[in-house]
């Protein structure tokens, strides 16, 4: 097997440059034209009385940072899931994790109204855990349920169920509007305070992901290999699930459901850096962040001066890749 080592340093070298570039574009351009010098001033000499400065500081800056973070979280979650289950279709949105998260937020809003932001994040985490357990539980019970295609069908269908149930609950208790707010992707409404609250969870999640990346590589080679090497597979799987729950949970809490990032970015990363998850996970993180930032910028311009939901833009890239994966890898079991 060809190991494409040489791409890793290149990728990790280019990524920060690309990040800076996209970051600049993201805060410079938007619905309101703001001169570059004003942007600069807003960053260095903030003037609370200036409306443009307020826009930069409180709308565009959190948006740029947030979209990078969320993209990275989702991509790392996807990479972990794909490695752990050896399923090339695994990803937070396909496996019902994001739906579980939004479902829990709906229930929280109905039965425990007036929750603080931190509590919302906790609901979201509980919900994503619930989603993961439900889908994996169903897959484990089903004969052949762990096969990529079956698991993807299960995840999507269970996700549909949870979102229908949320809609029903929301309609019954008449909180539909608030709930749809949580359900749709909304990078344009990221709250800086919420991002700060979410950071510790994210650091823990990413830390776990990087720590177990070596073991994930071994898991991705199959149960026989990992058992032969004397590895306790369930421990690694549990840790990986924990990381996925943390990362996906806070992504949904921050910005609602965003599809396809977690599915396609790990594949792109794998294409460039090979099969070793010690390289895939960091690269997927970088690429995911950049990808979502790019999608967010496109979302602002494809329908200028109005915005598109970022989910439309991610589907634009995601659906063809999804179709390609189904077509190309139909029978294969390995991630």
């Amino acid at each position: 097997m060809m190991q494409r080592n040489n791409f890793t340093p290149l990728l990790l070298g280019i990524a920060p440059v690309a990040l800076l570039l996209l970051f600049a574009v993201s805060i410079r351009y938007g619905a309101k034209p703001i001169a570059a010098s004003t942007v600069w001033d807003a960053l260095l000499h903030f003037d609370a009385g200036n409306a443009d400065h307020q826009i930069i500081r409180h709308s565009r800056l959190p948006r740029a940072l947030g979209s990078f973070m969320i993209g990275a979280f989702l991509a790392v979650s996807g990479a972990l899931m794909q490695g752990m289950t050896r399923n090339y279709l695994a990803s937070p949105s396909i496996m019902g994790v994001t739906d579980g998260s939004a479902f829990a937020i709906t229930l929280g809003m109905i039965f425990l109204p007036g929750a603080s932001s931190l509590e919302m994040i906790l609901y979201s985490l509980v919900g994503s855990l619930f989603g993961v357990l439900l889908v994996f539980g169903a897959a484990a019970l089903l004969p052949g349920g762990m096969s990529p295609v079956r698991m993807a069908i299960l995840g999507t269908i269970i996700g549909t169920f949870m979102s229908s149930a949320s809609a029903a609950f929301a309609a019954y208790f008449q909180v539909s509007q608030n709930v749809s707010f949580w359900y749709s992707s909304r990078l344009h409404q990221l709250e800086p305070a919420l991002i700060q609250l979410a950071l510790p969870f994210a650091v823990i999640g990413l830390g776990i992901a990087l720590l177990i990346s070596r073991q994930i590589t071994i898991l991705s080679l199959g149960d026989e290999v990992s058992q032969g090497l004397g590895m306790r597979g369930w421990l690694v799987k549990a840790a990986a699930m924990g990381a996925v729950v943390l990362l996906t949970g806070i992504s949904v809490a921050l910005a609602g459901k965003i599809a396809f990032v977690g599915l396609i970015v790990p594949h792109i990363a794998r294409f460039f850096v090979g099969v070793d998850y010690r390289r895939i996970i960091p690269c997927a993180g970088w690429l995911g962040g950049l990808f979502l930032m790019l999608c967010d910028i496109l979302a602002r311009f494809l329908n200028y001066p109005f915005e598109l939901p970022v989910g439309v833009v991610t589907s634009l890239f995601g659906v063809p890749v999804f179709l390609y994966l189904i077509r190309k890898k139909g029978g294969g079991k390995h991630a």
Partner: protein, 343 residues
Amino acid sequence: MPERSSKAVRRVLLAGFALLLVSVYIYLTKGEFELSVRDVVQTLLRIHPQPDNDLIVFEFRLPRLVIAALVGFGLAIAGAAVQGVTRNGLADPGILGIHAGAGAAIVLYMYAFQGQVIRTGWTAIMTMPLFGLAGGAAAAALLFAFAWQNGRLDAQRMILTGIAISSGFGAFTLFLSLRMNAKDFEMAAVWLTGSIWNANWIYILSMLPWFILLTPLLLRRTRTLDLFQLDESMVRSLGLRYGRELVILLLCSIGLVSACVSVSGSISFVGLLAPHIARRLVGPRHRHLLPVCGLIGVLLVVISDLIAKSVFAPAELPVGIVISLVGVPYFLLLLYKSRSVGS
């Protein structure tokens, strides 16, 4: 054997009609404004008509009931035909992305004629299903292009491809609907979630030609559908033009689906549930299956719509959501039962 079976069919049909009668009774009498049976009958038969009752029965409840029934019937037999053609018990036009394709084409049409009041334009409403047909056919073509391998359709991959196609068309629809003006958007958004709140006799008229034309076509092909359960080579050796029949059956189903989608949006799982329930009741022969399946579809949608508008009152839930709450567990059950292991 056939004798007994057709007796069973008659029994099932009778029971179905009885159930339907009960639901129609509840549908027409209960609601925000209670009517007695006598009121309803008098209104329908034009005996001492009262304007209030006329309004409720003819403008609100009856059109909605008729649409629910038509949609249920159309989606159910289209579902049975698609399941038969693809030999895939998990197939459902909604899951396979045909609804999404038809919906996207219809939204495209609305978008193209933005501003020219679509709600009342006769020709506009009558031609909507035509666009839906084109979109649905495009979705089906994509589905076959991606899921066809080694001369056969892989059941599970087909479902997944359908999911991908529907999310693609869904994104496209969302994109278009956001570019519409506010009024059209509102309409499109409600319509897309699969609800029949905006019932109106014009919509019924726009659906009818499709039903009158395509239902007999499908019913006449029940034998072909039976033969389709065999191997493709076997079908050919029996003197059937496989490709041609496949296309005809699919187009008929898509036409029905798009007529339904153009009126009520995407209501998934009817096309999945009804054929399975019917198959359990009367067995796999399509001659018996299709009528029973249609009746069950009618019942499903009418009863679900009843739930959607009464349980959640005064709020109203899209009927599509009620059905998918029932449909998903059933789909999972089917997935568990189906023997073939994925991939």
